[in-house]
């Protein structure tokens, strides 16, 4: 295969083409809107207009440009989402371990883990706000709950996927329970654990943004609804939409990158490749 052909058939190139196709469709729609609508930027602005608004230094509120608003509110939202995500991850992992350690705990809690998926936690956001009285705390709590169950169920599936032969081998070594967990169970549940993280990272961000919309305390969601009500430039809205989409995708990709760094078998693979 020639070099040019290799590039054309590579995955990043194909994805790039698809992205360009999507942008082209968007632009076509935008051009159409421009002709028919009085305020096309409310419905479907040109991509170039959105990009321009990112770099423009026109003040949209008292002292901030659109980009500054997005950044400062993103800080508040993402920080809480991250703390909640961290708590949820730790708690979910420990819960999975506990369920593995004790069959009784697993039997008691597992049906509820299934059930909790059916409950629209995001719908409960206002209630949790009413209980905690603090928007920051409720962001953390909701992000933690949403992170908790994908991590717990996936990790448990990983712990249960260990084959019988491995247990038998460890048994023949007279390995202690602690050693079995450290050397066999926890390493083998890592890929499953990260599957859970990849699902829950965007969910934590979604939850955090949604909680923002409930109370005017800064944050992406708050600015989103402000901008929709035309309290400030509509481009703030478009920037937040694209920003949150981007951060959501990025968070999932980031988990994949961390997985490659952390997981034992992939680390071993890398070492082997270095030696060769």
């Amino acid at each position: 295969m020639s070099k040019a052909k290799k590039i054309v058939s590579s995955k990043p190139f194909i994805m790039l083409v698809w992205v360009l196709v999507l942008v082209a469709i968007w632009e076509m729609g935008a051009a159409n809107m421009e002709k028919t609508k009085r305020t096309p930027e409310n419905v479907l602005p040109h991509v170039s207009q959105i990009v321009a608004s990112v770099f423009s230094d026109k003040m949209v509120s008292n002292s901030q440009t659109a980009t500054q608003i997005v950044w400062s509110s993103a800080e508040a939202t993402l920080e809480r989402a991250f703390i909640g995500f961290l708590f949820g991850t730790i708690f979910g992992f420990l819960m999975a371990l506990l369920m593995k350690l004790s069959g009784l705990v697993e039997k008691t809690i597992f049906p509820y883990l299934m059930l909790i998926q059916m409950i629209p936690i995001i719908g409960m956001a206002p209630i949790i706000l009413a209980i905690t009285h603090d928007i920051g705390t409720s962001r953390i709590v909701i992000a933690a709950i949403l992170t908790f169950y994908p991590v717990a169920t996936n990790t448990l599936a990983g712990l249960n996927s260990v084959s019988k032969e491995k247990y038998e081998l460890m048994y023949s070594y007279a390995a202690s329970k602690w050693t079995i967990y450290r050397k066999v169970l926890i390493p083998s549940c890592i890929p499953y654990f990260f599957t859970g993280l990849k699902i829950s990272a965007p969910m934590a961000i979604t939850a955090s943004i949604l909680v923002d919309t409930l109370q005017g305390d800064g944050g992406l969601g708050c600015m989103l609804s402000q901008s929709l009500k035309h309290a400030m430039s509509i481009y703030v809205f478009w920037q937040i939409v694209f920003f949150s989409a981007f951060v959501g995708i990025l968070s999932s990709v980031l988990m994949g990158v961390i997985e490659k760094r952390v997981s034992p078998h992939m680390r071993a693979d890398r070492k082997r490749r270095k030696k060769v």
Binding site: K11, L44, G123, M124, T206, I209, L224, V241, S244, I249
Partner: protein
């Protein structure tokens, strides 16, 4: 091996005859315990709240009884959005998976773009869809319905296409070779091998898709123009500080999620009867 005699409790819990009973009794016991703590207001003390923000189960039950016709109206709106969105989205998602299977080189790249849609927060999608559907109909109830269905659809497309693609391509070992040895045409391979193979994967996708379609429907109601649906009622009642009514709608939302999941499980049980 010398067996240490275990005490009677451990022997009782490890007894294989007792196990199936335990897996029913323990979760039920936990549920009863939580409800008992809730009804006796001990839970309120733990969470540091009062019966105003966290009403008693008996109170919620009474409100459901009192407002049944109004609740059913909202349930209908939400379920309709969730089911229509899920159905259209799953259908399109499956079609995308088929296209990706037929044109593997371009399709697989496109599929990763579709999968990335999964990571986009619903909060960002819902207001955009509301904006785009302003011209669909002059009736606010119709156009916000269309907007909500579109949101649910996009979420379902991502889940279904990724899973269906797996089902169409993770074929049993050697089955493709067998088909080749029959000199089977591509079309025959598709209908006799790939299509049946993808059926369990469709259900895997739906298991994720059903709860997420309900949740997306609820969230998109927050941003819709026309005030209807369970999610919107949760929010509207919070705004006017009617926490008891809001809790009622949360309970109803949970019931919707659980009953839709149960219906799905029934279908799966009937359709995949011969596979287990």
């Amino acid at each position: 091996m010398i067996k240490r005699k275990k005490n009677i409790f451990i022997r009782f819990f490890r007894n294989p005859k007792v196990q199936p009973f335990l897996s029913v009794i323990l979760p039920v016991a936990l549920g009863v315990l939580v409800f008992a703590l809730w009804q006796t207001q001990i839970l309120h003390k733990i969470l540091g709240t009062d019966t105003f923000t966290l009403p008693l189960p008996s109170q919620i039950n009474r409100i459901i009884g009192d407002n049944l016709p109004k609740i059913m109206l909202n349930v209908k709106a939400t379920v309709l959005v969730a089911v229509i969105g899920l159905a259209i989205g799953s259908f399109i998602g499956y079609l995308i998976a088929v296209l990706a299977t037929v044109f593997p080189r371009w399709g697989a790249g496109g599929l990763s773009i579709v999968a990335a849609f999964n990571a986009i927060p619903i909060v960002a999608l819902a207001p955009v869809m509301t904006n785009w559907t302003k011209d669909v109909s002059s009736d606010a109830s119709v156009r916000s319905m269309v907007a909500k269905v579109l949101v649910v659809m996009i979420v379902s497309i991502a889940t279904m296409s990724v899973n269906a693609y797996r089902g169409l391509n993770n074929l049993p070992e050697f089955s493709l070779d067998l088909m080749k040895s029959y000199a089977a045409k591509k079309r025959v391979v598709f209908f006799k091998l790939r299509l049946p193979n993808s059926v369990p994967y469709i259900f895997t996708a739906l298991r994720v898709g059903v709860p997420s379609s309900v949740i997306s429907a609820i969230v998109s109601e927050y941003f819709a123009e026309y005030i209807t649906g369970v999610g919107r009622q949760i929010r509207e009642n919070i705004v006017i500080a009617q926490y008891a009514t809001a809790w009622t709608y949360i309970a109803v939302a949970c019931l919707i999620g659980i009953s839709m999941y149960c219906i799905l499980m029934m279908f799966e049980g009937i359709l995949l009867r011969n596979r287990k």
